[in-house]
Symmetry: C2
Subunit: 120 residues, 2 copies
């Protein structure tokens, strides 16, 4: 099934060259792949996931989130910074307090899709 006439020795000298060449051509730019990994990295922390999930339901201020998750205001603020940098969350200022909400529907979709995978 995996016989393309390629040689079957490895050690970086002999791989399935045809396949590798084909795949190489189809690969996106390194930069794009790096950015993609960075995006997923933002989702890859339970504190940040919790924050995002909380914002599924309602717009929340920093203190709300801190109380909700039992974390320091500082810790939450640091993580919101990361989420904001990844354009997953957007702030709305109202006097002293800043309310955060999900940036767009990609966030919802991605998390929902992830949940599906988790739940088999």
């Amino acid at each position: 099934m995996a016989e393309n006439g390629d040689i079957e020795r490895c050690g970086f000298l002999c791989v399935h060259e045809d396949t590798v060449r084909l795949v190489t051509e189809q690969m996106p730019d390194d930069e794009k792949l790096y950015d993609l990994a960075e995006l997923f990295k933002v989702f890859g922390d339970s504190t940040r996931i919790k924050i995002l999930y909380a914002l599924f339901e309602a717009e929340l201020c920093v203190c709300d989130i801190a109380q909700l998750l039992g974390l320091t205001q500082s810790a939450v603020s640091h993580q919101l910074r990361v989420l904001k940098a990844g354009r997953l969350v957007k702030p709305r200022k109202e006097g002293k307090t800043v309310f955060y909400s999900l940036a767009d529907d990609h966030v919802r979709t991605l998390i929902a899709q992830g949940m599906e995978h988790i739940e088999e």
Copy 2:
């Protein structure tokens, strides 16, 4: 717009209590959220993303991937282990060589969704 009759003082004493209570009830189990973060963490590394993207196109053996990405066989094997543990990739043994492919369509969907977000 954010007036639910909650008090406007913070410092962990006064938050928007109604909202926080509501959100708390809607939050999934901690364990589930932890697992979700773990899933995204697996996507959150450029080497692993590259491996997954390569497998978009074709089933590949460990050496193919190593050559394709300019990495050590060992490095690739270690990462495949992580991907396999996250059920994102599945192995098929054929003699000495092991061919890897994407485990299911969730992987494709998630990566595609991520790409959409990257590309604005």
